[in-house]
């Protein structure tokens, strides 16, 4: 029983990590007032960039860098459309999702000729699991042993990066001048403008931060969790991250718990497939797949507290001119 629990929690951590990274990415963007439904596209683009470069160079770090590059480029496109040209942020996000879905498959086929996939990564092209010191020796110690050597140890570096990003994001947003201004620009950009700070430049920096974290999320999928890029490998994770962001009411620590919850649901669904629950019978796997979305809708309906987005989210800022 305890063993099973540890196994489920272990896969919860693995499944939550991409959600968490993407969710924190969206946090920066939306806190600055730029709604981002293009998380999915940015993640997918990053997964492809990382997979392609890691295959060619056999270097996971270069792959990660390439993933971040692709994701930041897509983020800047979103910024150009929605900050500089004051276009509709939703429309821009939809466009980015389409572009990423199409271009990754198209270029993947042109470059690698494996139906859009990137070939399996060579040695060194993938982030390996890190085994913590004494993990092997402690394995047999009751309770602490499995906790330490299964749950804490033995993940790749991006998993740890994801969880370190949570306090880091909190610190940046709530303890630095940049964070204060970033939150202010999402609530009342006119006030920030009046103080002589550029609204556009602040929002651009937020969009870049979002791109960097989405780059990590995408790279995690293709060169850490997986061993190569597959067509449409994000499969809606960007949207689950978006749901988690709303579920967390745009707060870093809550974002982590929301992503862990959604990751846990996913882990349980995989575990429960084809198994009978005493007294209920077999629960369809689709129920678990739909549960994150159902929970978010219930939250949005106001039954579990109220999710209030940043006040200026989605509204392009127009600087007044005489």
């Amino acid at each position: 029983m305890f063993e099973t629990l540890i196994l489920i929690l272990d896969s919860t951590v693995r499944l939550s990590t991409p959600l968490l990274l993407a969710c924190l990415a969206g946090l920066y963007s939306e806190r600055s007032g730029v709604v981002d439904i293009g998380l999915e596209g940015k993640m997918l683009g990053a997964a492809f960039g990382a997979g392609a470069v890691a295959y060619v160079t056999a270097n996971a770090w270069l792959g990660l860098l390439a993933g971040i590059g692709v994701s930041v480029a897509l983020g800047l496109l979103h910024g150009f459309a929605s900050i500089s040209n004051r276009g509709n942020q939703i429309v821009s996000g939809v466009a980015i999702n389409f572009l990423a879905a199409g271009l990754t498959a198209l270029l993947g086929q042109t470059w690698f000729r494996q139906g859009g996939r990137t070939p399996a990564l060579p040695e060194g092209g993938r982030f390996r699991d890190i085994v913590w010191p004494y993990a092997e020796q402690l394995r047999d110690v009751p309770v602490i042993g499995p906790l330490y050597s299964e749950l804490l140890s033995g993940h790749n570096i991006l998993v740890y990066a994801g969880f370190i990003a949570v306090p880091l994001t909190w610190w940046v947003l709530f303890r630095t001048r940049f964070g204060l201004r970033l939150r202010a620009v999402g609530e009342n950009p006119a006030a920030v403008d009046t103080a002589g700070i550029s609204v556009a430049w602040l929002r651009y920096r937020a969009v870049i931060a979002c791109g960097i974290l989405c780059g990590f999320a995408g790279a995690y999928l293709s060169i850490a969790q997986g061993a190569g890029f597959g067509v449409n490998m994000t499969a809606g994770k960007g949207f689950i991250a978006l749901a988690a962001l709303i579920f967390a009411k745009w707060r870093p620590a809550s974002a982590m718990f929301a992503c862990l919850l959604f990751g846990f649901l996913d882990a349980v669904a995989i575990r429960m497939q084809g198994q009978e629950v005493p007294g209920i019978g077999e629960i369809p796997v689709q129920f678990f797949q739909a549960l994150p979305y159902i929970l978010t809708v219930i939250l949005l309906a106001g039954f579990i507290g109220k999710a209030v987005p940043p006040k200026a989210a989605g509204i392009p800022y127009l600087k007044e001119r005489s």
Binding site: I37, L77, F80, A81, S82, N85, R86, G87, N88, Q89, I90, V91, S92, V94, A95, I96, N97, F98, L99, A100, A101, G102, L103, A105, L106, L107, Q109, T110, G116, G236, F239, L242, A243, I246, P284, Q286, F287, Q289, A290, Y293, I294, T296, V297, L300, A301, G302, A307, P309, L318, R321
Partner: protein
């Protein structure tokens, strides 16, 4: 918004054209990037979609889908709402068509089944849009987010239903039984053999789609409800002040929008597949966003945009035969570029064009 300052043909003709041209120019660059000749690609695309009867038939078949989903997005646009859930609403709309066909196909001819299928699909699609609409209207939860969530919920629900209650007994495939003649719309090739549509699945639902265009035009521009929808979309605060109920407007608009998206299933399920199957919507709901943006939310524009996207889908299939490097993913790229340039970047060229036409107004347009 500087609309009204520019001549109408510039606002409704030139600017959309320039935006589209930019989208196709970038698409051409992508074709160059993957090492093919873009002009040759355009030639194959146009020949494949318009060059012979069967090609035209397929173009019109896809266009039928896009008219429905494009109208769905457009109606919501008029009320200032962004219904991104056409995908899920069309998927659930398939249930309505399927119920009508499964119940009636062996007792009555298709023209009796059709009204029930239309009503069924519209009701199911509208029902799937109702909760997001109601939440937006009464709880202020954003309709974009809730409709995205409902797309995923619809997908899970349909996979579950097609694997359990709706599955054909004794079959391993997640699909219903094939409909009898009473649940099949006639193909246009059988109605008008002289057009030579061949094996193209274009069917009578094309006329249902065109009728929907006329009705939506009447609704939006010639009825009190349409006036309320447009007023609410133009300025919600003023509309409420003028006595228009926001809850009523939002819910009714979304129900119409969801109903239209649901009706897309008539073409796919009753017109072509003759059974309900997994993922039959295949992204057509999302194409509606591009179609509505490109058609500037007007039925005439939507028909033209739907035909253009029909050409892209059919010509693109042809293209992937002739130039294996250009897979069908190219269509998705073009779609993304159209949404980007005709939607998100629609104001990019406006200052320059305004400066060109009325130099004195250029400064004013900068502010808009």
């Amino acid at each position: 918004m500087s609309a009204g300052q520019l001549p109408r043909w510039v606002d409704y003709g030139l600017i959309p054209f320039v935006n589209l041209a930019a989208a196709f120019l970038v698409s051409g660059l992508v074709v160059v990037l993957i090492g093919e000749n873009p002009l040759e690609a355009v030639r194959i695309l146009i020949w494949g979609s318009l060059g012979y009867g069967e090609g035209i038939g397929f173009t019109l078949f896809y266009a039928t889908n896009f008219i429905f989903t494009g109208l769905a997005v457009a109606v919501a646009f008029h009320a200032g709402l962004f219904n991104i859930g056409g995908e899920g609403q069309a998927y659930i709309g398939g249930l309505g068509v399927t119920f009508a066909c499964l119940a009636l196909d062996h007792i009555v001819p298709w023209y009796v089944t059709l009204p029930f299928a239309i009503i069924g699909s519209a009701l199911m699609g509208a029902a799937w849009a109702f909760i997001p609409a109601w939440l937006q209207a009464t709880r202020g939860s954003h309709v974009v987010i809730t409709t995205i969530m409902f797309n995923f919920i619809a997908s899970s629900l349909m996979v579950y239903l097609l694997n359990s209650a709706l599955k054909k007994p004794g079959s391993m495939q997640p699909e219903t039984r094939t409909f009898e003649a009473g649940g099949r719309l006639p193909f246009l090739n059988d109605v008008f053999p002289s057009f030579g549509f061949g094996y193209a699945p274009v069917n009578l639902s094309l006329f249902v789609a065109l009728a929907a265009c006329v009705l939506i035009w009447l609704l939006i521009w010639r009825t009190k409800l349409g006036f309320e929808i447009r007023s609410f979309g133009a300025n919600a605060t003023a509309a409420v002040y003028a006595g228009i109920s926001p809850v009523r407007t939002i819910v009714i608009t979304m129900l119409i929008s969801g109903g239209l998206a649901g009706m897309m299933a008539i073409n796919e399920i009753m017109g072509s597949q003759h059974r309900l199957l997994i993922d039959f919507v295949a992204g057509y709901g999302f194409v509606g966003i591009a179609v509505a943006l490109m058609g500037r939310a007007h039925p005439v524009g939507i028909v033209l945009a739907a035909i253009l996207f029909g050409m892209l889908y059919q010509g693109g299939a042809e293209l992937s035969f002739e130039m294996p490097n250009i897979t069908r993913d190219m269509i998705i790229v073009i779609q993304g570029l159209v949404i980007l340039f005709a939607g998100a970047l629609e104001h990019m060229f406006r200052p320059a064009i305004t400066a060109l036409f009325m130099p004195s107004q250029a400064h004013a347009a900068e502010e808009a």
